[in-house]
Protein backbone atom coordinates (compact mmCIF):
# COMPACT_ATOMS: atom_id res chain seq x y z
CA UNK A 1 0.00 0.00 0.00
CA UNK A 2 1.80 3.06 -1.13
CA UNK A 3 -0.68 5.61 0.18
CA UNK A 4 -2.77 5.32 3.31
CA UNK A 5 -5.97 7.36 3.10
CA UNK A 6 -8.74 7.97 5.58
CA UNK A 7 -12.42 8.06 4.81
CA UNK A 8 -13.52 11.66 4.36
CA UNK A 9 -16.60 11.06 6.47
CA UNK A 10 -15.58 8.67 9.25
CA UNK A 11 -11.92 8.04 10.07
CA UNK A 12 -11.45 4.50 8.73
CA UNK A 13 -8.22 4.05 6.76
CA UNK A 14 -8.10 2.16 3.48
CA UNK A 15 -5.90 -0.42 5.21
CA UNK A 16 -9.08 -2.10 6.46
CA UNK A 17 -9.31 -5.32 4.47
CA UNK A 18 -11.74 -5.28 1.57
CA UNK A 19 -12.95 -1.70 2.22
CA UNK A 20 -13.78 0.37 -0.85
CA UNK A 21 -13.47 4.17 -1.13
CA UNK A 22 -15.50 6.05 -3.72
CA UNK A 23 -14.39 8.95 -5.91
CA UNK A 24 -15.18 11.42 -3.14
CA UNK A 25 -13.03 9.50 -0.68
CA UNK A 26 -15.95 8.11 1.31
CA UNK A 27 -15.81 4.49 2.48
CA UNK A 28 -18.53 2.01 1.64
CA UNK A 29 -19.38 1.65 5.34
CA UNK A 30 -20.42 5.31 5.40
CA UNK A 31 -22.22 4.98 2.09
CA UNK A 32 -24.15 2.07 3.48
CA UNK A 33 -25.11 4.08 6.56
CA UNK A 34 -26.52 6.71 4.21
CA UNK A 35 -28.34 4.11 2.21
CA UNK A 36 -30.01 2.84 5.35
CA UNK A 37 -31.94 6.08 5.79
CA UNK A 38 -33.50 5.56 2.35
CA UNK A 39 -34.62 1.99 2.97
CA UNK A 40 -38.34 1.37 3.43
CA UNK A 41 -38.05 -0.24 6.84
CA UNK A 42 -41.82 -0.72 7.14
CA UNK A 43 -41.77 -2.94 4.07
CA UNK A 44 -38.79 -4.86 5.39
CA UNK A 45 -40.60 -5.39 8.67
CA UNK A 46 -43.59 -6.79 6.77
CA UNK A 47 -41.26 -9.16 4.91
CA UNK A 48 -39.92 -10.33 8.23
CA UNK A 49 -43.37 -10.88 9.67
CA UNK A 50 -44.42 -12.90 6.63
CA UNK A 51 -41.27 -14.95 6.91
CA UNK A 52 -41.76 -15.89 10.55
CA UNK A 53 -45.48 -16.57 10.14
CA UNK A 54 -44.59 -19.30 7.66
CA UNK A 55 -42.47 -21.16 10.18
CA UNK A 56 -44.02 -20.24 13.50
CA UNK A 57 -44.82 -22.84 16.12
CA UNK A 58 -43.59 -25.90 14.27
CA UNK A 59 -41.41 -27.02 17.13
CA UNK A 60 -40.22 -25.91 20.53
CA UNK A 61 -38.04 -23.23 19.01
CA UNK A 62 -38.91 -20.90 16.17
CA UNK A 63 -35.41 -19.78 15.46
CA UNK A 64 -31.85 -19.82 16.66
CA UNK A 65 -30.00 -16.70 17.73
CA UNK A 66 -26.22 -16.76 17.99
CA UNK A 67 -25.87 -15.14 21.36
CA UNK A 68 -22.85 -13.74 23.20
CA UNK A 69 -24.89 -12.14 25.94
CA UNK A 70 -23.80 -8.70 24.75
CA UNK A 71 -26.05 -5.77 23.98
CA UNK A 72 -26.60 -6.61 20.31
CA UNK A 73 -27.49 -10.29 20.39
CA UNK A 74 -29.50 -9.86 23.61
CA UNK A 75 -31.52 -7.05 22.04
CA UNK A 76 -32.29 -9.20 19.00
CA UNK A 77 -33.34 -12.16 21.14
CA UNK A 78 -35.48 -9.97 23.38
CA UNK A 79 -37.23 -8.26 20.49
CA UNK A 80 -37.96 -11.59 18.81
CA UNK A 81 -39.70 -12.76 21.92
CA UNK A 82 -41.33 -9.53 23.11
CA UNK A 83 -42.32 -8.00 19.78
CA UNK A 84 -42.91 -11.07 17.64
CA UNK A 85 -43.80 -13.76 20.14
CA UNK A 86 -41.13 -16.13 18.94
CA UNK A 87 -39.32 -18.64 21.11
CA UNK A 88 -35.66 -18.38 20.16
CA UNK A 89 -32.97 -20.82 21.24
CA UNK A 90 -29.83 -18.91 22.16
CA UNK A 91 -26.57 -20.55 21.13
CA UNK A 92 -23.35 -19.32 22.67
CA UNK A 93 -19.90 -20.33 21.62
CA UNK A 94 -17.83 -19.72 24.71
CA UNK A 95 -15.35 -16.84 24.75
CA UNK A 96 -11.72 -18.00 24.89
CA UNK A 97 -11.33 -16.51 28.36
CA UNK A 98 -14.79 -16.07 29.87
CA UNK A 99 -15.03 -13.33 32.47
CA UNK A 100 -17.41 -12.27 35.24
CA UNK A 101 -19.09 -9.44 33.28
CA UNK A 102 -20.07 -11.74 30.44
CA UNK A 103 -21.34 -14.44 32.80
CA UNK A 104 -23.34 -11.91 34.82
CA UNK A 105 -24.97 -10.39 31.73
CA UNK A 106 -25.83 -13.77 30.27
CA UNK A 107 -27.34 -14.96 33.54
CA UNK A 108 -29.36 -11.76 33.95
CA UNK A 109 -30.73 -12.16 30.45
CA UNK A 110 -31.67 -15.82 30.90
CA UNK A 111 -33.63 -14.71 33.97
CA UNK A 112 -35.91 -12.88 31.55
CA UNK A 113 -37.03 -16.28 30.23
CA UNK A 114 -34.82 -17.80 27.53
CA UNK A 115 -33.28 -21.19 26.80
CA UNK A 116 -29.65 -21.32 25.87
CA UNK A 117 -26.93 -23.75 24.88
CA UNK A 118 -23.31 -22.96 25.67
CA UNK A 119 -20.56 -24.72 23.80
CA UNK A 120 -17.19 -24.67 25.46
CA UNK A 121 -14.74 -26.58 23.31
CA UNK A 122 -11.75 -28.66 24.32
CA UNK A 123 -9.42 -26.12 25.87
CA UNK A 124 -6.22 -27.99 25.20
CA UNK A 125 -6.90 -27.66 21.48
CA UNK A 126 -8.30 -24.14 21.81
CA UNK A 127 -5.22 -22.81 23.59
CA UNK A 128 -2.93 -24.44 21.07
CA UNK A 129 -4.91 -22.96 18.16
CA UNK A 130 -4.96 -19.53 19.82
CA UNK A 131 -1.18 -19.56 20.06
CA UNK A 132 -0.76 -20.85 16.52
CA UNK A 133 -3.07 -18.25 14.99
CA UNK A 134 -1.51 -15.47 17.04
CA UNK A 135 1.83 -16.40 15.53
CA UNK A 136 0.66 -17.14 12.01
CA UNK A 137 -2.05 -14.56 11.51
CA UNK A 138 -1.79 -12.09 14.34
CA UNK A 139 -5.24 -13.14 15.49
CA UNK A 140 -5.65 -15.49 18.48
CA UNK A 141 -9.39 -15.90 17.77
CA UNK A 142 -9.50 -17.36 14.26
CA UNK A 143 -10.84 -20.67 15.57
CA UNK A 144 -13.31 -18.85 17.80
CA UNK A 145 -14.63 -17.06 14.72
CA UNK A 146 -15.10 -20.43 13.10
CA UNK A 147 -16.84 -21.83 16.19
CA UNK A 148 -19.15 -18.83 16.53
CA UNK A 149 -20.18 -19.25 12.92
CA UNK A 150 -20.56 -23.00 12.97
CA UNK A 151 -22.26 -23.57 16.34
CA UNK A 152 -25.66 -21.97 15.56
CA UNK A 153 -25.89 -23.80 12.23
CA UNK A 154 -24.98 -27.06 13.89
CA UNK A 155 -27.59 -26.49 16.59
CA UNK A 156 -30.12 -25.65 13.88
CA UNK A 157 -29.46 -29.01 12.22
CA UNK A 158 -29.48 -30.95 15.50
CA UNK A 159 -32.62 -29.27 16.85
CA UNK A 160 -34.24 -29.18 13.43
CA UNK A 161 -34.85 -25.44 13.62
CA UNK A 162 -34.75 -24.08 10.07
CA UNK A 163 -34.15 -20.39 10.85
CA UNK A 164 -30.99 -18.77 12.21
CA UNK A 165 -31.02 -15.03 12.79
CA UNK A 166 -27.60 -13.41 12.73
CA UNK A 167 -27.13 -9.79 13.75
CA UNK A 168 -25.67 -7.53 11.06
CA UNK A 169 -23.83 -8.09 7.80
CA UNK A 170 -20.38 -6.86 8.79
CA UNK A 171 -19.08 -6.39 5.26
CA UNK A 172 -21.93 -3.94 4.54
CA UNK A 173 -22.11 -2.19 7.88
CA UNK A 174 -18.46 -1.52 8.45
CA UNK A 175 -16.99 -1.41 4.96
CA UNK A 176 -15.99 -4.50 3.05
CA UNK A 177 -16.69 -6.53 0.00
CA UNK A 178 -20.31 -7.21 -0.76
CA UNK A 179 -20.51 -10.15 -3.11
CA UNK A 180 -24.15 -9.66 -4.02
CA UNK A 181 -27.28 -7.92 -2.78
CA UNK A 182 -28.65 -11.23 -1.59
CA UNK A 183 -25.61 -11.75 0.64
CA UNK A 184 -26.82 -8.78 2.69
CA UNK A 185 -30.02 -10.58 3.57
CA UNK A 186 -29.06 -14.21 3.65
CA UNK A 187 -25.86 -15.32 5.25
CA UNK A 188 -23.58 -17.10 2.85
CA UNK A 189 -21.56 -19.70 4.69
CA UNK A 190 -18.78 -19.78 2.13
CA UNK A 191 -18.43 -16.00 2.31
CA UNK A 192 -17.83 -16.28 6.04
CA UNK A 193 -15.35 -19.09 5.59
CA UNK A 194 -13.42 -17.32 2.86
CA UNK A 195 -13.41 -13.79 4.24
CA UNK A 196 -13.48 -14.15 7.96
CA UNK A 197 -11.81 -17.44 8.72
CA UNK A 198 -9.69 -17.77 5.62
CA UNK A 199 -9.39 -21.52 5.40
CA UNK A 200 -11.27 -24.67 6.26
CA UNK A 201 -11.03 -25.53 9.99
CA UNK A 202 -10.64 -29.18 8.96
CA UNK A 203 -7.10 -28.16 7.95
CA UNK A 204 -6.00 -27.38 11.49
CA UNK A 205 -4.81 -30.83 12.43
CA UNK A 206 -1.26 -31.24 13.65
CA UNK A 207 0.71 -33.70 15.76
CA UNK A 208 -1.47 -32.86 18.78
CA UNK A 209 -4.81 -31.78 17.32
CA UNK A 210 -6.75 -34.53 15.58
CA UNK A 211 -9.85 -34.28 13.38
CA UNK A 212 -12.17 -34.87 16.36
CA UNK A 213 -10.71 -31.94 18.27
CA UNK A 214 -11.82 -29.70 15.41
CA UNK A 215 -15.48 -30.77 15.43
CA UNK A 216 -16.68 -27.65 17.32
CA UNK A 217 -15.31 -25.46 14.52
CA UNK A 218 -16.76 -27.28 11.51
CA UNK A 219 -19.95 -26.48 9.68
CA UNK A 220 -22.33 -29.40 9.40
CA UNK A 221 -22.33 -31.14 6.03
CA UNK A 222 -24.15 -29.27 3.28
CA UNK A 223 -26.60 -32.18 2.84
CA UNK A 224 -27.63 -32.00 6.50
CA UNK A 225 -28.14 -28.24 6.30
CA UNK A 226 -30.24 -28.71 3.19
CA UNK A 227 -32.22 -31.52 4.81
CA UNK A 228 -33.44 -29.30 7.63
CA UNK A 229 -33.66 -26.41 5.17
CA UNK A 230 -31.67 -24.10 7.43
CA UNK A 231 -31.85 -20.49 6.33
CA UNK A 232 -29.50 -17.99 7.94
CA UNK A 233 -30.72 -14.40 7.74
CA UNK A 234 -29.44 -11.08 9.02
CA UNK A 235 -31.66 -9.28 11.51
CA UNK A 236 -29.99 -6.10 10.28
CA UNK A 237 -31.53 -6.61 6.85
CA UNK A 238 -35.05 -6.31 8.23
CA UNK A 239 -34.52 -3.75 10.99
CA UNK A 240 -32.33 -0.68 10.96
CA UNK A 241 -29.13 -1.72 12.69
CA UNK A 242 -27.80 0.61 15.33
CA UNK A 243 -25.49 -0.36 18.15
CA UNK A 244 -26.47 2.75 20.04
CA UNK A 245 -30.15 1.88 19.86
CA UNK A 246 -29.40 -1.67 20.94
CA UNK A 247 -27.52 -0.28 23.89
CA UNK A 248 -30.49 1.88 24.85
CA UNK A 249 -32.87 -1.02 24.37
CA UNK A 250 -31.04 -3.54 26.50
CA UNK A 251 -30.60 -1.10 29.38
CA UNK A 252 -34.37 -0.76 29.36
CA UNK A 253 -34.98 -4.47 29.89
CA UNK A 254 -32.22 -5.57 32.26
CA UNK A 255 -29.40 -4.28 34.42
CA UNK A 256 -26.47 -4.51 32.00
CA UNK A 257 -22.96 -4.62 33.43
CA UNK A 258 -20.30 -2.58 31.63
CA UNK A 259 -16.51 -2.33 31.75
CA UNK A 260 -15.62 -1.72 35.40
CA UNK A 261 -13.09 1.02 34.67
CA UNK A 262 -15.65 3.08 32.79
CA UNK A 263 -14.11 2.15 29.46
CA UNK A 264 -12.26 -0.69 27.77
CA UNK A 265 -8.52 -0.63 26.96
CA UNK A 266 -7.78 0.98 23.62
CA UNK A 267 -11.08 2.79 23.31
CA UNK A 268 -13.48 5.24 24.92
CA UNK A 269 -16.56 3.01 25.07
CA UNK A 270 -17.62 0.72 27.92
CA UNK A 271 -20.39 -1.35 26.36
CA UNK A 272 -18.91 -3.34 23.51
CA UNK A 273 -17.04 -6.65 23.32
CA UNK A 274 -16.80 -7.12 27.07
CA UNK A 275 -17.08 -10.86 27.57
CA UNK A 276 -13.68 -12.22 26.51
CA UNK A 277 -10.52 -11.29 28.38
CA UNK A 278 -8.51 -11.81 25.18
CA UNK A 279 -10.49 -9.23 23.17
CA UNK A 280 -8.39 -6.24 24.19
CA UNK A 281 -5.35 -7.99 22.76
CA UNK A 282 -7.32 -9.01 19.69
CA UNK A 283 -8.14 -5.37 18.89
CA UNK A 284 -4.60 -4.29 19.62
CA UNK A 285 -3.40 -6.80 17.03
CA UNK A 286 -5.78 -5.29 14.52
CA UNK A 287 -4.06 -1.97 15.26
CA UNK A 288 -0.63 -3.48 14.69
CA UNK A 289 -1.59 -5.22 11.46
CA UNK A 290 -3.71 -2.55 9.83
CA UNK A 291 -2.90 0.65 11.71
CA UNK A 292 -6.38 1.29 13.07
CA UNK A 293 -7.36 0.45 16.62
CA UNK A 294 -10.43 -0.17 18.66
CA UNK A 295 -11.18 3.52 19.16
CA UNK A 296 -11.21 3.98 15.37
CA UNK A 297 -13.63 1.11 15.04
CA UNK A 298 -15.99 2.45 17.70
CA UNK A 299 -15.70 6.08 16.58
CA UNK A 300 -16.45 5.25 12.94
CA UNK A 301 -19.63 3.44 13.91
CA UNK A 302 -20.72 6.41 15.97
CA UNK A 303 -19.95 8.88 13.18
CA UNK A 304 -22.05 6.77 10.85
CA UNK A 305 -24.90 6.87 13.37
CA UNK A 306 -24.59 10.63 13.79
CA UNK A 307 -23.45 10.36 17.38
CA UNK A 308 -19.99 11.88 16.84
CA UNK A 309 -18.61 14.46 14.43
CA UNK A 310 -15.52 13.61 12.45
CA UNK A 311 -13.45 16.03 14.53
CA UNK A 312 -14.65 14.43 17.74
CA UNK A 313 -13.91 11.01 16.32
CA UNK A 314 -10.35 12.04 15.45
CA UNK A 315 -9.88 13.26 18.99
CA UNK A 316 -10.99 9.91 20.40
CA UNK A 317 -8.81 7.99 17.98
CA UNK A 318 -5.75 10.05 18.87
CA UNK A 319 -6.40 9.63 22.56
CA UNK A 320 -7.09 5.90 22.73
CA UNK A 321 -6.10 3.87 19.63
CA UNK A 322 -2.50 3.54 20.76
CA UNK A 323 -3.21 2.33 24.29
CA UNK A 324 -1.60 -1.01 25.11
CA UNK A 325 -4.14 -3.56 26.45
CA UNK A 326 -2.74 -4.10 29.94
CA UNK A 327 -5.89 -4.64 32.04
CA UNK A 328 -6.42 -8.31 31.05
CA UNK A 329 -2.93 -8.98 29.76
CA UNK A 330 -1.97 -11.50 32.43
CA UNK A 331 -4.95 -13.73 31.61
CA UNK A 332 -4.26 -13.49 27.88
CA UNK A 333 -0.59 -14.37 28.35
CA UNK A 334 -1.51 -17.37 30.47
CA UNK A 335 -3.95 -18.56 27.83
CA UNK A 336 -1.35 -18.22 25.09
CA UNK A 337 1.48 -19.71 27.14
CA UNK A 338 3.63 -16.62 26.64
CA UNK A 339 5.48 -14.06 28.69
CA UNK A 340 5.47 -10.37 27.86
CA UNK A 341 8.72 -10.52 25.94
CA UNK A 342 7.47 -13.45 23.90
CA UNK A 343 4.29 -11.60 23.07
CA UNK A 344 6.23 -8.48 22.10
CA UNK A 345 8.33 -10.53 19.68
CA UNK A 346 5.23 -11.97 18.03
CA UNK A 347 3.54 -8.56 17.85
CA UNK A 348 6.54 -7.14 16.01
CA UNK A 349 6.44 -9.89 13.38
CA UNK A 350 2.96 -8.64 12.50
CA UNK A 351 3.85 -5.00 12.12
CA UNK A 352 3.46 -3.97 8.54
CA UNK A 353 6.37 -1.72 7.65
CA UNK A 354 4.29 0.02 5.03
CA UNK A 355 2.14 1.22 7.92
CA UNK A 356 4.65 1.49 10.76
CA UNK A 357 8.08 3.05 11.17
CA UNK A 358 10.46 2.61 14.10
CA UNK A 359 11.48 6.09 15.15
CA UNK A 360 12.95 7.50 18.34
CA UNK A 361 12.82 4.15 20.12
CA UNK A 362 9.17 3.44 19.37
CA UNK A 363 6.84 2.43 16.61
CA UNK A 364 4.92 5.23 14.95
CA UNK A 365 2.26 5.22 12.28
CA UNK A 366 3.68 6.45 9.00
CA UNK A 367 0.31 8.02 8.28
CA UNK A 368 -1.42 9.12 11.49
CA UNK A 369 -5.17 9.62 11.18
CA UNK A 370 -6.14 13.03 9.90
Amino acid sequence: MRDVRFCARCVMPNTRPRIVFDALGVCNGCRFAEEKSRIDWTARRRDFEALIEAGRGRGTYDCIVPWSGGKDSSTIAHRLKAEFGLNPLLVTFSPLIPNAIGARNREAFLNLGFDSIMIRPNQKASRRLARRFLEERGNPKVHWDAGVNAAPVRSAVEQRVPLVLYAEHGESEYGGRVLSEDHRRMRDLTEVLEHQIGDDPANWTDEVIGPRDLAPYLYPAAEDVACVGVKALYFGWFFRWSMAENWQYIQGVMPFATAPNGRTDGTFTNFDSLDDAIDDLYYHLQYIKFGFGRATRDACRMVQNGELTRAEALEKVRAYDDEFPSTHLAEALDYLGLDEAGLARILDTHRNDEIWVFEGNRWRLRHPPR
Binding site: R137, E194, G198, I355
Partner: protein
Protein backbone atom coordinates in the same frame (compact mmCIF):
# COMPACT_ATOMS: atom_id res chain seq x y z
CA UNK B 1 8.97 -43.16 -6.46
CA UNK B 2 8.20 -39.70 -7.76
CA UNK B 3 6.43 -37.70 -5.06
CA UNK B 4 3.27 -35.72 -5.70
CA UNK B 5 3.97 -32.07 -5.16
CA UNK B 6 2.21 -29.46 -3.05
CA UNK B 7 2.81 -26.12 -4.70
CA UNK B 8 2.31 -22.63 -3.35
CA UNK B 9 1.03 -20.11 -5.86
CA UNK B 10 1.84 -16.53 -4.91
CA UNK B 11 0.06 -13.76 -6.80
CA UNK B 12 1.65 -10.34 -6.68
CA UNK B 13 -0.02 -7.10 -7.59
CA UNK B 14 2.69 -4.51 -8.14
CA UNK B 15 5.01 -6.50 -5.92
CA UNK B 16 2.48 -6.93 -3.08
CA UNK B 17 1.23 -10.40 -2.20
CA UNK B 18 -2.43 -10.43 -3.15
CA UNK B 19 -5.21 -12.90 -3.17
CA UNK B 20 -7.52 -13.18 -6.12
CA UNK B 21 -11.10 -14.29 -6.30
CA UNK B 22 -12.46 -15.32 -9.66
CA UNK B 23 -9.35 -13.55 -11.02
CA UNK B 24 -10.15 -10.17 -9.48
CA UNK B 25 -7.63 -8.87 -6.94
CA UNK B 26 -9.27 -9.14 -3.54
CA UNK B 27 -7.47 -8.69 -0.26
CA UNK B 28 -3.98 -7.56 0.39
CA UNK B 29 -2.09 -9.48 3.00
CA UNK B 30 -0.09 -7.69 5.60
CA UNK B 31 2.17 -10.44 6.64
CA UNK B 32 4.02 -12.95 4.58
CA UNK B 33 4.48 -16.25 6.34
CA UNK B 34 5.34 -18.46 3.42
CA UNK B 35 7.32 -21.39 4.74
CA UNK B 36 10.14 -21.80 2.29
CA UNK B 37 11.32 -25.10 3.76
CA UNK B 38 8.33 -27.42 3.75
CA UNK B 39 6.75 -26.49 0.45
CA UNK B 40 7.79 -28.48 -2.64
CA UNK B 41 7.72 -25.72 -5.20
CA UNK B 42 6.69 -22.11 -5.61
CA UNK B 43 4.87 -20.43 -8.48
CA UNK B 44 5.07 -16.64 -8.42
CA UNK B 45 2.69 -14.79 -10.71
CA UNK B 46 2.59 -11.12 -11.54
CA UNK B 47 -1.11 -10.23 -11.64
CA UNK B 48 -0.53 -6.52 -12.08
CA UNK B 49 -2.92 -5.19 -14.70
CA UNK B 50 -1.12 -3.42 -17.52
CA UNK B 51 -0.44 0.17 -16.53
CA UNK B 52 -1.23 -0.22 -12.85
CA UNK B 53 2.21 -1.03 -11.51
CA UNK B 54 5.87 -1.46 -12.27
CA UNK B 55 7.40 -4.69 -13.49
CA UNK B 56 10.47 -3.96 -11.39
CA UNK B 57 8.50 -4.55 -8.22
CA UNK B 58 7.68 -8.08 -9.29
CA UNK B 59 11.25 -8.79 -10.37
CA UNK B 60 12.43 -7.72 -6.94
CA UNK B 61 10.05 -10.26 -5.43
CA UNK B 62 11.36 -13.02 -7.71
CA UNK B 63 14.94 -12.15 -6.80
CA UNK B 64 14.13 -12.18 -3.10
CA UNK B 65 12.34 -15.51 -3.34
CA UNK B 66 15.15 -17.07 -5.37
CA UNK B 67 17.71 -15.97 -2.82
CA UNK B 68 15.75 -17.39 0.11
CA UNK B 69 14.14 -20.55 -1.20
CA UNK B 70 15.97 -23.70 -2.14
CA UNK B 71 13.03 -25.24 -3.92
CA UNK B 72 12.07 -24.74 -7.55
CA UNK B 73 10.59 -21.42 -8.46
CA UNK B 74 8.41 -20.85 -11.49
CA UNK B 75 7.60 -17.27 -12.41
CA UNK B 76 5.26 -15.69 -14.88
CA UNK B 77 2.49 -13.28 -15.55
CA UNK B 78 2.94 -10.93 -18.48
CA UNK B 79 5.65 -13.00 -20.20
CA UNK B 80 5.32 -11.96 -23.83
CA UNK B 81 8.81 -12.24 -25.29
CA UNK B 82 12.06 -14.16 -25.05
CA UNK B 83 13.57 -11.24 -23.21
CA UNK B 84 10.73 -11.27 -20.63
CA UNK B 85 11.52 -14.94 -20.02
CA UNK B 86 15.24 -14.32 -19.86
CA UNK B 87 14.72 -11.56 -17.30
CA UNK B 88 12.73 -13.87 -15.02
CA UNK B 89 15.20 -16.74 -15.36
CA UNK B 90 18.00 -14.28 -14.77
CA UNK B 91 16.26 -13.12 -11.60
CA UNK B 92 16.43 -16.69 -10.30
CA UNK B 93 13.35 -18.43 -11.65
CA UNK B 94 13.82 -22.04 -12.74
CA UNK B 95 10.79 -22.10 -14.98
CA UNK B 96 8.72 -19.53 -16.80
CA UNK B 97 4.95 -19.57 -16.85
CA UNK B 98 3.28 -18.39 -20.05
CA UNK B 99 -0.38 -17.94 -20.75
CA UNK B 100 -1.86 -15.23 -22.98
CA UNK B 101 1.22 -14.78 -25.16
CA UNK B 102 1.19 -18.49 -25.98
CA UNK B 103 -2.48 -18.32 -26.94
CA UNK B 104 -1.75 -15.35 -29.17
CA UNK B 105 1.23 -17.09 -30.76
CA UNK B 106 1.59 -20.82 -29.98
CA UNK B 107 5.05 -21.02 -31.56
CA UNK B 108 6.30 -18.88 -28.68
CA UNK B 109 6.17 -22.04 -26.52
CA UNK B 110 8.58 -23.82 -28.89
CA UNK B 111 10.96 -20.88 -28.94
CA UNK B 112 11.11 -20.94 -25.16
CA UNK B 113 11.53 -24.74 -25.07
CA UNK B 114 14.38 -24.69 -27.57
CA UNK B 115 16.19 -21.99 -25.61
CA UNK B 116 15.59 -23.17 -22.06
CA UNK B 117 14.43 -26.77 -22.38
CA UNK B 118 10.84 -27.98 -22.25
CA UNK B 119 11.11 -28.60 -18.49
CA UNK B 120 11.47 -24.86 -17.96
CA UNK B 121 8.26 -23.99 -19.79
CA UNK B 122 4.98 -24.11 -17.87
CA UNK B 123 1.91 -23.29 -19.90
CA UNK B 124 -0.85 -21.91 -17.66
CA UNK B 125 -4.39 -22.44 -18.85
CA UNK B 126 -7.32 -20.60 -17.33
CA UNK B 127 -10.68 -22.10 -18.17
CA UNK B 128 -14.33 -21.45 -17.49
CA UNK B 129 -17.30 -23.73 -17.79
CA UNK B 130 -19.00 -23.33 -21.14
CA UNK B 131 -21.96 -25.47 -22.07
CA UNK B 132 -21.11 -29.14 -21.65
CA UNK B 133 -17.40 -28.44 -21.50
CA UNK B 134 -14.95 -25.66 -20.84
CA UNK B 135 -13.39 -22.76 -22.67
CA UNK B 136 -9.90 -21.35 -22.31
CA UNK B 137 -9.75 -17.66 -21.42
CA UNK B 138 -6.87 -15.27 -21.96
CA UNK B 139 -5.79 -12.00 -20.39
CA UNK B 140 -6.72 -12.56 -16.73
CA UNK B 141 -9.68 -14.64 -17.84
CA UNK B 142 -11.24 -11.61 -19.52
CA UNK B 143 -11.10 -12.88 -23.09
CA UNK B 144 -12.65 -16.11 -24.34
CA UNK B 145 -10.48 -17.83 -26.91
CA UNK B 146 -12.66 -20.55 -28.42
CA UNK B 147 -10.14 -23.23 -27.35
CA UNK B 148 -11.20 -26.33 -25.47
CA UNK B 149 -8.72 -26.68 -22.61
CA UNK B 150 -7.93 -30.28 -23.54
CA UNK B 151 -7.23 -29.30 -27.14
CA UNK B 152 -5.13 -26.32 -26.17
CA UNK B 153 -3.17 -28.38 -23.63
CA UNK B 154 -2.38 -30.99 -26.29
CA UNK B 155 -1.29 -28.25 -28.69
CA UNK B 156 0.84 -26.61 -26.01
CA UNK B 157 2.55 -29.93 -25.34
CA UNK B 158 3.18 -30.43 -29.05
CA UNK B 159 4.73 -26.96 -29.18
CA UNK B 160 7.10 -27.88 -26.34
CA UNK B 161 5.41 -27.21 -22.99
CA UNK B 162 6.99 -29.11 -20.11
CA UNK B 163 4.11 -28.77 -17.67
CA UNK B 164 0.51 -27.58 -17.75
CA UNK B 165 -0.97 -25.49 -14.94
CA UNK B 166 -4.75 -25.71 -15.20
CA UNK B 167 -6.86 -23.22 -13.25
CA UNK B 168 -10.62 -23.02 -12.94
CA UNK B 169 -11.60 -19.37 -13.15
CA UNK B 170 -14.84 -19.88 -11.24
CA UNK B 171 -13.13 -21.72 -8.41
CA UNK B 172 -10.24 -19.27 -8.08
CA UNK B 173 -10.09 -17.92 -4.54
CA UNK B 174 -12.93 -20.11 -3.33
CA UNK B 175 -12.58 -22.92 -0.82
CA UNK B 176 -15.04 -25.10 -2.69
CA UNK B 177 -12.55 -27.60 -4.10
CA UNK B 178 -10.91 -27.95 -7.50
CA UNK B 179 -12.76 -28.45 -10.75
CA UNK B 180 -11.78 -32.10 -11.01
CA UNK B 181 -13.46 -32.75 -14.33
CA UNK B 182 -11.56 -29.91 -15.96
CA UNK B 183 -8.29 -31.28 -14.65
CA UNK B 184 -9.11 -34.82 -15.68
CA UNK B 185 -9.86 -33.74 -19.24
CA UNK B 186 -6.53 -31.95 -19.48
CA UNK B 187 -4.56 -34.70 -17.73
CA UNK B 188 -5.98 -37.27 -20.16
CA UNK B 189 -5.05 -35.12 -23.14
CA UNK B 190 -1.34 -34.68 -22.39
CA UNK B 191 1.62 -36.73 -21.21
CA UNK B 192 3.47 -33.88 -19.48
CA UNK B 193 2.84 -33.24 -15.76
CA UNK B 194 -0.36 -31.39 -14.92
CA UNK B 195 -0.68 -28.96 -12.01
CA UNK B 196 -4.18 -28.27 -10.71
CA UNK B 197 -5.15 -24.88 -9.26
CA UNK B 198 -8.21 -22.90 -8.25
CA UNK B 199 -10.45 -23.73 -5.31
CA UNK B 200 -8.34 -25.74 -2.87
CA UNK B 201 -10.07 -25.38 0.48
CA UNK B 202 -8.99 -28.35 2.50
CA UNK B 203 -6.53 -31.21 2.36
CA UNK B 204 -9.12 -33.62 1.07
CA UNK B 205 -9.37 -31.41 -2.01
CA UNK B 206 -5.65 -32.03 -2.55
CA UNK B 207 -6.26 -35.77 -2.37
CA UNK B 208 -9.12 -35.51 -4.89
CA UNK B 209 -7.02 -33.35 -7.23
CA UNK B 210 -4.56 -36.21 -7.47
CA UNK B 211 -6.83 -39.25 -7.31
CA UNK B 212 -9.81 -37.92 -9.26
CA UNK B 213 -8.37 -34.99 -11.18
CA UNK B 214 -5.30 -36.91 -12.28
CA UNK B 215 -3.00 -34.06 -11.29
CA UNK B 216 0.70 -34.58 -10.63
CA UNK B 217 0.86 -31.58 -8.37
CA UNK B 218 -1.72 -29.67 -6.37
CA UNK B 219 -1.55 -25.92 -6.05
CA UNK B 220 -2.94 -23.60 -3.42
CA UNK B 221 -3.02 -19.84 -3.50
CA UNK B 222 -4.51 -19.46 -0.04
CA UNK B 223 -2.02 -17.63 2.12
CA UNK B 224 -3.19 -19.59 5.16
CA UNK B 225 -2.03 -22.78 3.50
CA UNK B 226 1.53 -21.52 3.22
CA UNK B 227 2.61 -21.86 6.82
CA UNK B 228 4.79 -24.64 8.08
CA UNK B 229 2.00 -26.06 10.25
CA UNK B 230 -0.44 -26.03 7.32
CA UNK B 231 1.89 -27.65 4.83
CA UNK B 232 2.85 -30.37 7.26
CA UNK B 233 -0.78 -30.97 8.14
CA UNK B 234 -1.61 -31.22 4.42
CA UNK B 235 1.21 -33.63 3.72
CA UNK B 236 0.28 -35.82 6.67
CA UNK B 237 -3.26 -35.98 5.29
CA UNK B 238 -2.03 -36.89 1.81
CA UNK B 239 0.24 -39.57 3.25
CA UNK B 240 -2.66 -41.05 5.24
CA UNK B 241 -4.61 -41.19 1.98
CA UNK B 242 -1.81 -43.30 0.49
CA UNK B 243 -0.28 -40.59 -1.66
CA UNK B 244 3.51 -40.41 -1.71
CA UNK B 245 4.68 -36.93 -0.72
CA UNK B 246 7.93 -35.40 0.45
CA UNK B 247 7.70 -35.21 4.23
Amino acid sequence: MLRRRVITVLAFHDGVLTRTKAFEPDTRYTHNLVDLWSIDEIVALDVTRPGSGERGNFLAVVRALAARCFVPLAAGGGVRSMSDAETLLGAGADKVVVNTAALDRPSFIGELARAYGAQAVVVAIDARRAGEGYEVCAAFASRPTGWYPEAWAARAQAEGAGEILITSVERDGSLAGYDLELCRRVADAVSVPVLIAGGAGNWQHFVEGITKGGADAVCTANVYHFTEASIQSAKAHLARAGIAVRA
